[in-house]
Amino acid sequence: MNLINIDEPNKKPLTSKCLGIDFGTTNSVCSVKIGEKVIFIEDSKRMNLIPSIVCFDKTVKVGNDIDLEKNLQNSIFSIKRFFTSNPDGQIVINSNSDCLSPVEIAKEIFSHLKKICNDFLDEEVNDCIITVPAYYDERARSGIMRSALMSGFNVRRLINEPTAAAFAYGLDKKKRGKFLVYDLGGGTFDVSLLNLKDNLFKVIGTSGDAKLGGDDLDQLLLDYILNTYFDHIKNDLSNIEKLSLKKASKSIKEKLQSVNNIIAEVTIKNKKKNIEINVNVIEKIFNEIITKTIKITDQLIKDCNVQVDEIDGFILVGGSTRLALIPKKIKEHFKKDIYCELDPDRVVSYGAALHGFDLLNGSKNLLLDVTPLSLGIETMGGLMEKIIPRNSNIPVVKEQTFTTNENGQTSIKISVIQGERETSNKNTLLGEFILSDIEPKPAGIPRIKVRFSLDVDGILFVSAIDESSGNEKNLVIKTNKDLNITEMKKLVESSIKNAKEDMDTRLLIESKIKASRLINEIENVKDQIETLCTKKDIENINKTSNMLKKEMKTNDKERIETLTDNLNEKTKNFAQKLIDKNFKNFVGKDLDVLE
């Protein structure tokens, strides 16, 4: 009997593809669920782990395409770590002292990932889910989101790395009960407590340290080797020598995952040394960091009001947990079963691919997550008033009413902050805006309603409204100069739909972002423009900016760019005046007088 293939050839697949992208400090991993299987994307060198390294030489190279020995000077490592300080700060990228922001540098990695995914799958896949450290704050999250959007990805969700890993264990290994996910990656440490049931994956609480990871372990080991074996020359090592030593110490660390004792031969500046390290030495070197992670874990369990006995096991995630010392320490301290059956380097991307498939194609599974850090506003005396406490389930909308503290006050500055400290200056300032035109009334009478709305991606929207006048002001958290996430998402979505050619689209998006950034900048200082500029200047600025706004709805890249340049030129005069004024405020004198 002949088997008849009843499937039509070239039949369109019934499901949509959604990439699960683990953008890591050291390596990035992409995977996608097709049918019942999750496939890991390989680059042209047939590798799954794509080093998160960008090299700015004559051309931009990423990952395994970089020859590190030759390009060390122009290569940027661990860019993910910079997102926790300032995603829009400037970093020197090459020997010409050119600068780019972490968002722009990470964009190159995302573009590279997009390209290898498209090549490997032989089709363009735009939809993706990106994982972020659970303990990332809002600024870091929206920074990652912006990078990915700029590279043309249609980011359908950001999910937390430990949550993604738990999702993989819940679905693939059918784990049920309360589990603690201990995730020690290259640059971040996350710990999350989850309750896994059939079709339900609920995060109870999450904690961590966004600046602690395997990189720190490598550095400790490197310091130890330098101090013990190369003390006399440690200050005059070249970058290449440092790199080779770093490689050597990393390989020692990795070898100690399987053996108890290792002797490695390392040669530097023609000095050959036999470096001997055993697990006891390693334990001493790493003790401080591992103890720190256990402390954070302990505190999380307490904060969640859960007894250690109730926990069914620990799931280990992140390359650094391969170090035998970590499961050993956890076992000693918590006396719980340890699970690490799924490759700790790839499980996060794997979970994200599973969730992405569920999201786009519908499923019975439900994933409920929480926000890692408290959100609030600054009140009198620099104190933080929490509006959304940490570990709140997301999405969440909360409102709180505030009032003025001076008679006849007509404006109020709202500073949005994130963190756990009592005083606002010890927390992160996410953004601020001014609600003006409040009806003048005695202190304490006006009612200003502040509304915080945190979406499932962990992106925050804030608005304030004066209840008597109905005057409202919105703030989507963003750095002053950028498009907000919603605007970018729309741009990407529409450009994907209309794209004739990928490259053109990307360039168009970039010019739109540039234009919108400028318009935003101008909007932000509108009041100042009105006081500082002549009527004719204002008219000119408004006219050009309106033309640009109109043009942005079209897709004429040339026109947008010309108008942007034009607008930039027109506001130059104002910028100078603003600088003068700020300086005047600062020193109380005119610049001319000072000279």
Binding site: R157, K302, L359, L366, L368, N393, P395, V397, K398, V456
Partner: protein, 167 residues
Amino acid sequence: MIQNISKTNPYDIFNLNQSYLIDIEELEMKYCELQNIFHPDKFINSTEKEKEISAYESSNINNAYNLLLNNVDRIKILLKLKGYNTNSNNEKSFTDKDLLEEIMELQNRCMSIENENQKVKIKTEIIEKIRIIESEINQNFEKKEFSEIKNLSVKLSYLEKIKKNLN
């Protein structure tokens, strides 16, 4: 098409009886059922309008769930539902001198905790106190002694705060 279900009363959202003692497992189950319908993940391919409603309703469900889980909040909601104005007699200061002393003494003891054993002992004590107050509150709800409940809830909220700080 998703419908707006907005209800202001958390008990109604979860279809629970308006009583002080609630079955946490039942609440949890209904919470998940509702999130399964309204969570934004279920609307990822829907229109902007539907996404907005879903985010709004999903947050409402989260807020209502957290309010009901918190015993002090639950008292406020119930008093309001029973028609008792919680803001009417705005006497925030303690009228009950004994209560003040009891709380002060507990706080002092917590400050001078030296070891894990003492901590566990104090914690057990506080949990027992909370249990007793909760059952008093429940009885008073049955007897509709609302002003008494309000006084008890002050004590309860202090005890909960001390317990939380012990973690």
